[in-house]
C-alpha cells in the first residue's frame, strides 16, 4: 500500500512534466510550411543562426537564474517565529559581477547581430529584380527584366538571388517569406528592399505581416521555386500572354468569355501579363487556370472554390475590393470557371511539394 501511494505520489509530481512533454512532442509532429526554423535560403539561414545564438544564451541564463530563484525559494523558506535573518543591504562585489557577466553575454549576442545586419543589407550582385506591390489584400509581382506582371504567385528560378523592390498601392503592408528571407515593410511612399534566394524547388507560403485592414489575415502569397528551364518556359508563356488564351471550340468556356465582359470582370481584371492596362484594381489573371491558390493564397484553386469565390467574394472575404454587381446564375458560374480554368500559359506546375 505504502509503496503504491508513493508511486502514485511520484506520478502526480511528474504528471505536469509528462503532459508537457507529450504536448511538445505533439506540437513538433505538426507540419509547419511557413516556419522560420527551417531556412531554405541564405538570408533566412543567416537570420536563423543569429536566432539560435540568442536561444542558446537564453537557455543558459534561464536555467541559471530560474534555478537560483527556485533554490532560494526552497532553501530559505521560513516560519513566522524563526529568528530574524541576517540583515544584508547589498554587496558591491556581487553587484559588479552580475553587471559584468550579462554585459559579456550581450557582447556575444551583439557580434553576430551586427555582422548579419550588415551582411543582409548588402546590395545583392547579379540578381533578378522583382517589384512587389502591396494591395489591400493581395500582392502584385512585376519582373522588369522580362516585362511580366503577375499576382499572388511569385515564380523564381532556384538558386538565383531575387532582389525585391517593394512599394504599396495603399496602406502599409509587410512582405514575409519565412523560409527564404524575413520581413520587410511595404510603404506607399518609399521603396523598401530585401533579397532572397531559394535552395530548393517547391511552393512556399508567405503572408502579409503588417496589419493592413479588415482582411489582413487573408493576404497571403506563394513563392514557387522551380528549375531554371521551367522558369524560362514560364517566362516565355507569360511574355506571350497579351491576349486571353483562346477557348475556340469549347462552347461553355466561350460563354464564359462573353460573361467576363458583360459581368464587368474586365473592368478590374486583365489577362495581359506583358502589358496590363494601367489602373485596374484586381489581380492580373494571366495563368489563373494553373495557379495553385486563388484569393491571395487562401483558397485552393479548384473549380468549386473558384465558383464560390466568383459568386460571393464578400462572403468569403468580407470587405474585399472585389464587388460583383447583380446575381450570377449556376450556369453562368460554370461558364466563367471553365473560361478561367482555360487560362493556362504553362501547364499546371509539376512541382512536387518539397516542404519538409
Amino acid at each position: 500500500m505504502r509503496f503504491r501511494s508513493i508511486a502514485i505520489g511520484r506520478l502526480l509530481w511528474w504528471s505536469p512534466l509528462l503532459t508537457l512533454l507529450v504536448l511538445v512532442a505533439a506540437g513538433c509532429a505538426e507540419n509547419y510550411p511557413q516556419t522560420t526554423l527551417d531556412p531554405r535560403g541564405e538570408f533566412a539561414r543567416m537570420v536563423d543562426d543569429v536566432f539560435m545564438t540568442t536561444v542558446r544564451w537564453a537557455i543558459l541564463v534561464f536555467v541559471l537564474v530560474e534555478g537560483a530563484l527556485v533554490v532560494a525559494i526552497i532553501k530559505f523558506r521560513g516560519k513566522p517565529d524563526d529568528p530574524e535573518p541576517k540583515q544584508i543591504h547589498g554587496s558591491s562585489v556581487l553587484e559588479v559581477v552580475w553587471t559584468v557577466i550579462p554585459a559579456v553575454i550581450l557582447v556575444m549576442v551583439a557580434i553576430p547581430t551586427i555582422k548579419v545586419i550588415f551582411e543582409t543589407a548588402k546590395e545583392p550582385a547579379d540578381a533578378m529584380v522583382v517589384e512587389v506591390i502591396g494591395h489591400q489584400w493581395w500582392w502584385e509581382f512585376r519582373y522588369p527584366e522580362y516585362g511580366i506582371t503577375t499576382a499572388n504567385e511569385m515564380y523564381v528560378p532556384v538558386d538565383r538571388t531575387v532582389d525585391l523592390r517593394m512599394v504599396s498601392d495603399d496602406v502599409v503592408h509587410s512582405f514575409w517569406v519565412p523560409q527564404f528571407a524575413a520581413k520587410r515593410d511595404v510603404f506607399p511612399n518609399r521603396e523598401t528592399r530585401m533579397w532572397f534566394n531559394t535552395e530548393v524547388t517547391g511552393e512556399f507560403p508567405g503572408q502579409c505581416a503588417e496589419f493592413c485592414g479588415i482582411q489582413h489575415a487573408r493576404m497571403g502569397f506563394r513563392v514557387v521555386s522551380v528549375e531554371v528551364a521551367e522558369f524560362d518556359s514560364w517566362v516565355a508563356g507569360m511574355s506571350a500572354a497579351t491576349e486571353p488564351v483562346s477557348v475556340e471550340g469549347d462552347s461553355v468556356a466561350l460563354a464564359g468569355q462573353q460573361l467576363f465582359l458583360t459581368k464587368a470582370c474586365i473592368g478590374c481584371h486583365s489577362f495581359n501579363a506583358a502589358a496590363p492596362p494601367p489602373g485596374q484594381i484586381g489581380p492580373n489573371l494571366a495563368n489563373i487556370g494553373s495557379r495553385t491558390m486563388i484569393a491571395a493564397g487562401m483558397l485552393e484553386n479548384t473549380d468549386e472554390n473558384m465558383a464560390r469565390w466568383i459568386s460571393d467574394p464578400q462572403g468569403y472575404k468580407e470587405g474585399s475590393l472585389m464587388v460583383i454587381a447583380g446575381e450570377i446564375t449556376e450556369a453562368e458560374l460554370a461558364a466563367l470557371v471553365a473560361y478561367l480554368r482555360a487560362q493556362q500559359v504553362v501547364a499546371s506546375p509539376p512541382v512536387v511539394a518539397d516542404i519538409q
Binding site: G27, V65, I73, S91, E95, V109, A182, H216
Partner: protein
C-alpha cells in the same frame, strides 16, 4: 456603560462634513478614495479587456473559424490592447500611486487634491468614450498602435478611429494631470527626514514613472492631434499622396510607445521591491543599484523606440544602433532581477499570497526579458516582429510581469485599503490557477510565432500547422479567465468573513503600516519623522516588535482640503467638447464642417466655467 461607549465612539465620528453617500465620493479630493475609484473602475475595464481576449481566443481556437466576423475581431483585438494598457494596467498602477504614495512618504494628501480628482474623472471620460463605441458597432479597429495611413479617412471611414483618437486624447490629459501631481507630491511632501535615498522603492519607481509620463504623453498627444487634423480638417501629415509620411506616425507613436512600456512595468517593479523584503524579513538588496537601474532603464527607454520598426528598413546603421541600445537595457534589468533574488537569498521567506505573486512575477518576467533580448538581435527580430512570438514576449512582460505584480500589490495592500484580510488559501489557489493558465495560454505562442503565425489575424487557414497550439492556448485562456473569478470570489468571501486587518499585518517596513487599516482621512495624526530607510522596521527595532495597535483618533484641528465638484465639471466639459467631434455637423453647410459646433461650444463653455470657478474656489 452606555455613555462610555458613546464617549469612545466620539473620536471616530466624522469631523467636519459628511463622509458618506454618493455625493461625497463624487466630490471627494481624498487621495485614498480617488485611489479606490481608480482601482474599481480599472478593474472593471480590465475584466472587459479580459472578456475581449477570451472572445478572440475562441475565434482562434480552430482554423477558418467564423465565430467572429473579421471586423468584429479587429475591433476586439484593438480594444483589448488599448483597454489593457490604458484602462487596465495604467490605472491599476494609478490606484496604488494614489493610495500609497502619500502614505509611504508620510503625507496627509497629494499636493493638488482637486487636480487628482480631475485626473480620475478625465480618465473615466476617456474610458467611456472608448467603450461607448461598441454600442455603435464602431469600436476602434486599427490596432492599439493605430498605424497611419490605415487610419486616414479613406481607409478608415467610420467613427471607429475617431473614438480611438478622442478617447486616447482624454486619457492623455488624465495621465498628464496625475503625473504633474505625483511628481510634485513626491518632491515636496515627504515627511521630515525622508531623504530621496530613503524613499521606499515603490515611491522611487513611481517617481521615475511620472517623469516618463510627463515626457512621453505629450508626444502621443501631438501625434493624435496630427491624425485628428488629417481626419477632420483635411491636413496631410500622414497622407503619402500629399507628401505626408506614414513613417512619421510610427516614429511619434513609438517614441511614446516604448517609454509607455516602462510606464507599465516600473510601478510593478516598485511593488515587488516592497513585497520581497517584507516577506523575506530582510532589506532590499542593493537599494541604490535598484534606484539607479530604474532611472537608467527610463533614460534608455527614450532611445530605443525604433526597435519596434526594424522591419521598416531603416538601414544597417540605424538598425545596429537601436539594436545595441536595446541590448543595453538588459543590463539594468538584469541587475534588478539579481537584486531581487539577492533579497530573498538568506532571508526567512514567509510564503503568504503576496509573496507567491511576487515570486511568480520574477519567474515570468525573466522569460519575457529573455525573449526581449532575442528581439534586440535585429536579424532575428525580422522574423519575429509582428508574429505571435512577440505576442508571447509582451504578455510575459505585461501579464507575467505587470499583472502578477499588481495582484501581489493587491493582496499586500488591500488589507490596508479596506481593513479586512483576504483569504490566504483562496489566494494561493488563485495564484496557481493563474500561473498555470497563464503559461498554457502564452508559452505556446512562442512556437506559433516561430512557425510563422502572424499576429492581428482574425483567422488562419488549415495546413499551416497552427491548429494544435491555438486550441491549447484557448483552453489555457479559459483557465486564466477563471482565475480572476476566483479573485473576485475571494474578495467577496473575505469581505463577508470580515477578518479585521490590523495596522501592520505583514510586519511591514514602510510608513503606511504605522497607521490604522483602513487609514483615517487625514492619514497621520502626527506627521512622522523618518530616521532611516525602512522606517517602520527601524522603529520596531528600537521599540520592540510588534508595535501597539495605533489608536483611531479624532483628527480635530487637522486641516483637510474641501471637497469640490469643479474637477468633475471640468472633466465633463472636456467630455462634451470631444463628443462634439463625434456627432457630426447639424447643418448641411458648409459641407467641410465635420464637427458639431454647438456641442463643441457648450463643452468649451463648461470647461471654461469649471476651470474658472475651480480657480476661485477656496481649497
Amino acid at each position: 456603560m452606555a455613555t462610555s461607549a458613546v464617549e469612545h465612539a466620539a473620536p471616530d465620528a466624522p469631523a467636519a462634513h459628511s463622509k458618506t453617500g454618493v455625493w461625497s465620493w463624487i466630490t471627494t479630493v481624498d487621495h485614498k478614495r480617488i485611489g479606490i475609484m481608480y482601482g474599481v473602475s480599472a478593474f472593471v475595464f480590465f475584466m472587459f479587456g479580459g472578456l475581449e481576449a477570451l472572445l478572440l481566443r475562441i475565434q482562434l481556437g480552430s482554423a477558418d473559424n467564423t465565430f467572429l466576423s473579421p471586423d468584429v475581431y479587429n475591433q476586439l483585438f484593438t480594444m483589448h490592447g488599448t483597454t489593457m494598457i490604458f484602462l487596465g494596467v495604467m490605472p491599476l498602477s494609478a490606484m496604488f500611486f494614489n493610495f500609497m504614495i502619500p502614505l509611504q512618504i508620510g503625507a496627509r494628501d497629494v499636493v493638488f487634491p482637486r487636480l487628482n480628482s480631475f485626473s480620475f474623472w478625465m480618465f473615466l471620460v476617456g474610458a467611456i468614450v472608448l467603450n461607448v463605441s461598441f454600442l455603435f458597432n464602431a469600436a476602434p479597429n486599427a490596432g492599439w498602435f493605430g498605424y497611419a495611413n490605415l487610419t486616414e479617412t479613406q481607409y478608415s471611414p467610420g467613427l471607429n478611429t475617431d473614438f480611438w483618437v478622442i478617447g486616447l486624447m482624454a486619457l492623455g490629459v488624465a495621465s498628464l494631470a496625475a503625473a504633474v501631481n505625483f511628481f510634485v507630491t513626491i518632491i515636496n511632501m515627504r515627511a521630515p527626514g525622508m531623504r530621496l535615498l530613503r524613499m521606499p522603492m515603490f515611491v522611487w519607481m513611481s517617481f521615475i514613472t511620472q517623469v516618463l509620463l510627463l515626457l512621453a504623453f505629450p508626444i502621443i498627444t501631438v501625434a493624435l492631434i496630427f491624425l485628428m487634423a488629417d481626419r477632420y480638417f483635411g491636413a496631410n501629415f500622414f497622407q503619402p499622396d500629399a507628401n505626408g509620411d506614414p513613417m512619421l506616425w510610427q516614429h511619434l507613436f513609438w517614441i511614446f510607445g516604448h517609454p509607455e512600456v516602462y510606464i507599465l512595468i516600473l510601478p510593478p517593479f516598485g511593488i515587488v521591491s516592497e513585497i520581497l523584503p517584507v516577506f523575506s524579513r530582510k532589506p532590499l538588496f542593493g537599494y541604490a543599484a535598484m534606484v539607479f537601474s530604474g532611472a537608467f532603464i527610463a533614460v534608455l527607454g527614450f532611445g530605443v523606440w525604433s526597435h519596434h520598426m526594424f522591419a521598416t528598413g531603416m538601414g544597417p546603421i540605424a538598425d545596429a544602433s537601436f539594436g545595441l541600445l536595446t541590448l543595453l537595457i538588459a543590463i539594468p534589468t538584469g541587475v534588478k532581477i539579481f537584486n531581487w533574488i539577492g533579497t530573498i537569498w538568506g532571508g526567512s521567506l514567509q510564503m503568504k499570497t503576496p509573496m507567491y505573486f511576487a515570486l511568480g512575477f520574477i519567474a515570468m518576467f525573466i522569460i519575457g526579458g529573455l525573449s526581449g533580448i532575442m528581439h534586440a538581435a535585429v536579424p532575428a527580430d525580422l522574423q519575429q516582429t509582428d508574429t505571435y512570438f512577440v505576442v508571447a514576449h509582451f504578455h510575459y512582460v505585461l501579464f507575467g510581469g505587470s499583472i502578477f505584480a499588481l495582484l501581489a500589490g493587491a493582496y499586500y495592500w488591500m488589507p490596508k485599503m479596506f481593513g479586512f484580510m483576504l483569504n490566504e488559501r483562496i489566494g494561493k489557489i488563485q495564484f496557481w490557477l493563474m500561473f498555470i493558465g497563464f503559461n498554457i495560454t502564452f508559452f505556446p505562442m512562442h512556437f506559433l510565432g516561430l512557425h510563422g503565425m502572424p499576429r492581428r489575424v482574425y483567422t488562419y487557414p488549415e495546413g499551416l500547422g497552427f491548429e494544435f497550439w491555438n486550441l491549447i492556448e484557448t483552453a489555457g485562456s479559459m483557465l486564466l479567465g477563471f482565475s480572476f473569478l476566483v479573485f473576485i470570489w475571494n474578495i467577496w468571501l473575505s469581505k463577508r468573513a470580515g477578518v479585521a486587518a490590523p495596522a501592520d499585518p505583514w510586519d511591514g517596513a514602510t510608513l503606511e503600516w504605522s497607521i490604522p487599516s483602513p487609514p483615517q482621512e487625514f492619514n497621520f495624526a502626527e506627521i512622522p519623522t523618518v530616521h532611516a530607510r525602512d522606517p517602520l522596521w527601524e522603529q520596531k527595532r528600537s521599540q520592540g516588535r510588534p508595535l501597539p495597535e495605533p489608536p483611531r483618533v479624532s483628527g480635530e484641528g487637522i486641516h483637510l482640503p474641501n471637497p469640490s465638484v469643479k474637477p468633475l465639471i471640468t472633466a465633463l466639459g472636456i467630455g462634451v467638447f470631444f463628443t462634439g467631434f463625434l456627432l457630426g455637423s447639424p447643418w448641411p453647410i458648409p459641407a467641410s464642417l465635420t464637427i458639431n459646433l454647438p456641442v463643441v461650444l457648450i463643452g468649451f463653455a463648461m470647461t471654461a466655467y469649471g476651470i474658472l470657478s475651480w480657480a476661485f474656489e477656496p481649497a
